[in-house]
Symmetry: D2
Subunit: 143 residues, 4 copies
């Protein structure tokens, strides 16, 4: 399960997709079947009570999995999230959301992954854990 794109290449590709001037996501590391990403903190990620919101943690998980698929299947791929299950485990203090993603299965039609989320404000606490499936388009890459 060797990656075929570097962290920088994945980051550039995702940045292009967002069409925003500022950077949203930093890809810190791409490994064999793994990735480490950082969703950069913005005020609108907080919900009442000054904790990182559920949708922000979902976004972090979804982007980490997207980075996993891209880095291991290549830029031609238009993968789409098919299922995502997320457990919220602890309050996430304001900060970047660090996600550690891991491939569980990389099939021809479906990729299944997990992601563990942490806040940079308290990086020892697992704040959320997600598993997700991405549908992969046919007739790509390996044909």
């Amino acid at each position: 399960m060797k990656p075929i794109m570097t962290a920088q290449e994945v980051e550039n590709l995702i940045h292009l997709g967002f069409e925003t001037p500022h950077k949203i996501l930093s890809i810190e590391e791409v490994g064999c079947g793994s990735v480490r990403t950082r969703l950069l903190f913005r005020e609108n990620m907080l919900r009442p009570g000054k904790i990182v919101s559920g949708p922000a943690l979902f976004t972090a998980a979804d982007l980490a999995m997207y980075a996993l698929v891209l880095s291991h299947s290549g830029p031609a791929l238009m993968a789409v999230t098919s299922n995502l299950n997320i457990n919220f485990l602890a309050k996430a203090e304001p900060g970047d959301v660090i996600s550690v993603g891991k491939i569980l299965k990389l099939g021809q039609r479906l990729a299944v992954m997990e992601a563990s989320m942490y806040s940079s404000a308290n990086p020892n606490v697992l704040v959320a854990h997600a598993t997700g499936s991405y549908a992969l388009p046919l007739n790509q890459g390996k044909t």
Copy 2:
């Protein structure tokens, strides 16, 4: 499973929490164990390809479930999402996200709900379906 707050009361309460000048969510209907909400369209809900993003659909599902808990358990409640599982079923064309939420279980410690999401641009197509659990604080309401 009778509601104890009106649609307008729930909408006001949620609006207060967001601290935004513009309205984000409209509560269209509160029924017995059910709710119908509308997440108002904004450009930043779109992802490349001009379809409503996964995080926006997640947000719609999460808010519909939050509205369900509030309307049936009352304003004192500080419920937090514990688990959310979402299946993405079809491309969501740009528009408001309409969610139909239903209570599956309203226990003393846990509420379990489902939500079905549609785009106002094509309201006959089910674009996503979610189930979720919310942890309810102790010593509230029924004591």
Copy 3:
């Protein structure tokens, strides 16, 4: 979403697969995008405390979804469960497990369904709710 097999045909097909002398599952009704099944009670479905076990409820959900796919896609199909998410909502008293299944999406590669489970001993109580995805083999039916 019209079914293409009758309840009796689906039941016979599933019974063949199990290779057991006794009947395990009864298909009570096949509708448009829906199915009603009954997992027949057996002592080994109980867990300590004399309630129907989680694995038995999972089995009921999985078989209801399998019956849904079969009845709407035809007997040639070898669908396999890809993901199943189940919420346990109430104690299930000893009895048959009645499942009401519904198709959320029937795509070319993936079917997504939900199933609501009840015990025949207390058929008004929703004891579990599941959503699941089944991978469909390629080059079937619609080609």
Copy 4:
């Protein structure tokens, strides 16, 4: 997250609950926040095609999580599965089902865990992955 029961104690306790003469589950290892269990092979775990069935893998995941809760919270506990999400990743060849379980969160009211399943016939292939929540009864242990 230190365990408070040994592997043997957990195995004995679970065996008592099942009221079967033969052993169903072997607890191979209890660690800090982790457990390794083995669901012993029986013919009725197979489904057509001679692969281990979904319900058998679900049972393995559920028992591994139950062993995790027991070993880390003690024998007085009557935990019940609240939610279980399982992804089926590869065909499981006939054999014991080995589960590696890990605690993601051990709160006062809810334990969240993950379990990875392998077949002893091919122990290098991850055949299924599950995450689950268990509701913990109040006023136990830590009072």
